[in-house]
């Protein structure tokens, strides 16, 4: 789960990781108040959305006076911000972070992630701060320092020294940097983070180490033990159909295509999306109803797929294991009775109780297109697309 920069900075503050003074504002008046309290100029006004590249997209601006703060906030709040991470449709900005301007002397990059290959926590740091780190990693990988930490041992002073000397820090900032890094690691572990990224981490002319930006992502599987993080969820940042699906524990991701699909199991769901593409169409979504889906979940999944206006046809692909085909069939029939299905539906079922499932569908009186296997399903989707 992603959170906003201002929320991540609240957590930083709790862990004594230095951040610029500032506050969040939902309208220009609030922005003015935050700036007044800061009592000095310039201040920075930063759009708060769950995507990077905000500066380039025009979502981060410097203000030299109260009037400018108000004008910039007016402009940014409500704007549709397009960055390389939002996709071409962009994201609506609902709030800004107003912060003191700093006297920056050096910009660094710092992040932590769990490394899947080594099962360690990896700290990545670079002197090339403020830049697109993907690009730095691709073109000049030697400029990125990586330090791996065994979670059973935890972060040690030598780990911090490896990072600090690797960044060529001057002796005067060594101490605050090391203390900041150790705190950041503690925050990372305490909250089951899947990413903490500070880009840039700045060193000011006064030799202070300050997190100018803050990006955090959390392991969804661990949210049950972090109720305070769940409070940070901002459903305005998510697709409305995805929010609806999450209420029913459905794993749904909206995509740009026109063939909806409902599958049990994530791997088979991805493979089904791929087969739709091979058939000459584009998948409208990813929808995994999971192993233990009930008829009610299937029904809701159906309703959510039909809520996407782009959907011109649906492919249901179920390999019954724990999820029995008769349960699936009942869910489809109920959904059809309740919501009415106005697009052609291809159903392919195999596995546990497949005969009972096929019987339920055949006796329902619904006009469903049945497919005997994956090859046949692809063929029938291709026919749908051809019209």
């Amino acid at each position: 789960m992603k959170i906003h920069e201002y929320q991540a900075k609240e957590l930083f503050k709790k862990y004594n990781i230095p951040i610029p003074d500032g506050g969040v504002a939902f309208n220009p008046d609030e922005a003015k108040k935050v700036a007044e309290n800061l009592g000095q100029f310039p201040v920075v006004v930063k759009a708060q959305i769950h995507a990077g590249g905000r500066g380039k997209g025009g979502g981060v601006k410097l203000a030299g006076s109260i009037d400018e703060v108000s004008g910039i906030a007016e402009e940014i709040i409500g704007m549709n911000l397009i960055t390389h991470q939002t996709g071409p449709q962009g994201k609506r900005v609902n709030k800004v972070l107003v912060e003191q301007g700093l006297n920056i002397s050096t910009e660094l990059y710092l992040s932590m992630i769990p490394d899947r290959a080594t099962a360690k926590i990896v700290i990545m740091a670079s002197q090339a701060g403020g830049m697109d780190i993907e690009e730095v990693a691709a073109s000049t990988p030697e400029k990125i320092i990586k330090v791996f930490i065994d979670p059973l041992i935890g972060i040690q002073p030598f780990h911090c020294r490896q990072v600090a000397f690797g960044l060529n820090l001057s002796s005067s900032v060594m101490r605050p940097f090391v203390s900041m890094l150790a705190s950041l690691y503690r925050l990372f572990i305490d909250y089951d983070c899947s990413l903490v990224e500070i880009n840039p981490l700045v060193i000011t002319a006064e030799d202070a180490v300050i997190a100018l930006d803050a990006k955090m992502d959390f392991d969804d599987n661990a949210l049950y033990r972090h109720k305070d993080i769940i409070e940070y969820r901002d459903t305005d940042e998510e697709d409305p159909l995805e929010v609806e699906a999450s209420k029913f524990h459905l794993n749904y991701i909206k995509l740009d295509g026109n063939i909806g699909n409902m599958v049990n199991g994530a791997g088979l769901a991805m493979a089904t999306m791929d087969i739709i593409k091979l058939a000459g169409a584009e998948p409208a979504n990813f929808l995994d109803v999971g192993g233990g889906a009930s008829a009610e979940m299937v029904e809701n999944g159906f309703r959510i797929m039909l809520g996407d206006r782009n959907v011109k046809g649906i492919l249901i692909n179920i390999f019954g294991g724990i999820l029995r085909c008769d349960v699936l069939a009942e869910g489809v029939v109920h959904a059809a009775e309740k919501t009415g299905i106005n697009v052609p539906v291809v159903i392919r079922m195999e596995g546990t109780n497949v005969e009972q499932g096929r019987k339920i569908l055949a006796e329902s009186g619904l006009s469903l297109i049945t497919a005997s296997d994956m090859k046949d399903a692809a063929h029938k989707v291709a026919q749908l697309v051809a019209g």
Binding site: Q85, P114, R116, A117, A119, K120, I121, E134, A137, A138, D150, P151, L152, I189, D192, S194, D219, D220, N221, A222, Y224, R225, N251, I253, L255, V263, N264, G265, A266, G267, L268, A269, M270, A271, M273, D274, I275, I276, K277, L278, E282, P283, F286, D288, G291, G292, F319, G320, G321, I322, E350, G351, T352, D373, M374, K375, D376, A377, A378
Partner: protein, 290 residues
């Protein structure tokens, strides 16, 4: 003529008295698996069907000689259950549980370094040696005993799909296993490929991967160097967008790493027969393996 599990497997089930644990224990026993014990803390002394239930894994192993554990414990307690089984020296630990926090699995993985136990999963369908023993949640009847093909996969139902297509083509399986869809797991592709390469009854291998991580790329390199048997591969997620987690915690394209295209290219370069169209998987396997 199998890898990791066979007729000598003596299974214990952690979480045997839960709804899922109970149901799948019965299914495994009905398939012919020798289920010797169950563990549910606080329910020691009870019986599930005729299977004795113990409070701890240590006790269950001492009393019954169990050498394999299947775990159905809920995600918040699953890491502890895996470590308990490893601590008791259980040879093969099959963790079915989905949704274990990554940090918990990182701890498990580091704790297990140097121990003799092999972990399969978590978030996996389990392992089956058709006709002999089934340790997991896969539907038994879709499998065909007798080999000659070994199947290893990161997925659940997608594995059933490929196994089903193999069976329809008359191609039997030596052992089929899912290694799980989480970013941090136990047994990896290379462990399985190595075991299949060394198993005399396995003459061909099916490898099913998906987006996320670099496990398929590493496996491809291993195949190029050390696997002499023909391999058919499939990768799910060509149409998956970057930055979105596709159901499995491990299935996410982050930055330029983990794309299906990169994996397919690495696999092709290692001489793996790539199936581009899942509908034709069985046919391709017929051409390659028969």
């Amino acid at each position: 003529m199998s890898i990791f599990v066979d007729n000598n497997t003596r299974l214990l089930v952690q979480g045997i008295t839960g709804k899922e644990g109970q149901f799948h224990t019965q299914q495994c026993a009905a398939y012919g698996t020798n289920v010797v014990a169950g563990v549910t803390p606080g329910k020691g002394g009870q019986k599930m069907d005729d299977i004795p239930v113990f409070n701890t894994v240590l006790e269950a192993v001492a009393q019954t000689g169990a050498n394999c554990s299947m775990i159905f414990v809920p995600p918040a307690f699953a890491a502890d259950a895996i470590m308990e089984a490893a601590d008791a020296g259980v040879d093969i630990i099959v963790a079915i549980t989905e949704g274990i926090p990554v940090m918990d699995m990182i701890k498990v993985k580091n704790t297990m370094t140097g121990k003799t136990s092999r972990l399969i999963g978590p978030n996996c369908p389990g392992i089956i040696t058709p006709g002999r023993c089934k340790i997991g949640i896969m539907p038994g009847p879709i499998h065909k005993p007798g080999g000659p093909v070994g199947v290893v996969s990161r997925s659940g139902t997608l594995t059933y799909e490929v196994v089903h297509q193999l069976t329809l083509q008359g191609i039997g399986q030596t052992t089929c296993l899912g290694i799980g869809g989480d970013p941090v797991n136990g047994t990896n592709f290379i462990d399985c490929l190595d075991a299949f390469e060394k198993d005399p009854e396995t003459t061909g291998i099916v490898m099913v991967g998906e987006i996320g991580g670099t496990a398929e790329e590493e496996a491809s390199e291993f195949i190029k160097q050390q696997v002499t048997k023909p391999v058919v591969g499939f990768i799910a997620g060509l149409t998956a967008p970057p930055g979105r987690r596709m159901g499995h915690a491990g299935a996410i394209i982050s930055g330029s790493s983990g794309t299906a295209q990169a994996k397919i290219e690495a696999m092709k370069a290692s001489g793996i027969h790539i199936c581009e169209n899942l509908g034709m998987f069985g046919e391709l396997c017929s051409e390659v393996f028969l």
